[in-house]
Symmetry: C2
Subunit: 135 residues, 2 copies
Amino acid sequence: MKKIDILKKLRTSGLRPTKQRVEIARFLFEREKTFHFTVESLNKLLAKKTTAKISLATIYNTVHSFKTAGHLSEVEVRGNKSYFDTNVSNHHHFYDSETSELIDIDANDIVIQKIPKAPNGKKIKNVEVFINLKN
Amino acid sequence: MKKIDILKKLRTSGLRPTKQRVEIARFLFEREKTFHFTVESLNKLLAKKTTAKISLATIYNTVHSFKTAGHLSEVEVRGNKSYFDTNVSNHHHFYDSETSELIDIDANDIVIQKIPKAPNGKKIKNVEVFINLKN
DNA sequence: TTTCACTTTAGAATTATTATAAACTAGAAT
DNA sequence: ATTCTAGTTTATAATAATTCTAAAGTGAAA
């Protein structure tokens, strides 16, 4: 994704393209593959890469804004930290607890044949499959 | 499960049946249905129910001991707190984020037809399905 | 250029959990 | 029964992730 598109992405989702947001957005979205991270890892990577430092609170704010705008998804993983994913399409994950690594699984690579119906009064929002790995 | 069986359960898993462990174990395992809880909710419920108070640290210790012994499973749910489940068989969950409530789904009620193979060098430990609910 | 609602920031506060170390206790050995 | 000891409980401190606060900064509309 090009810088011009990133600016558009921010504006169209009602996020003022500030210096910090643009820098974070470029870091996250100017890449080919999807990217998984925690706030902590993102903070370190940005600190290494960039000139001006961005405060941790801003990284939290920005990641949440991006999530609310639908530009990031939060992945449910056991443990203390929240994981985020630049892949916002419907998909699943391998989770390697030895390395705390997440790997995307395309939605088409898992087919569910039988599924229970939702408890009464509720609807199914989405189905997430986790394939936990071992060595 | 009867008290005598609970004592056996503790002893056979190398856990000395102390006053506190027996009290917690009876609260968790002397019931028909499976039970989902967080340490916080368990602490409150025990405080309401019992005479002598059990310290929060002991509840953490005990829940972890029970988990290690295979008497409880930990359920991966997005959010800050850890959820535990007295159902230790292979099964899945509905998760209602509005009420933070977990509901068991029997392993037989979900059939997965197609599944990707594990990344090289890794094996599949288990597959967990979450059906997220909305109103 | 002025204005102001939105944003960033440093640091404090909060929340869940784990660590510490002293007091206690179940059960084995005497 | 009494003593002993490793395992357990406890209150409290420490840690870690995240959220809150309120003051200072800034994009962009007028």
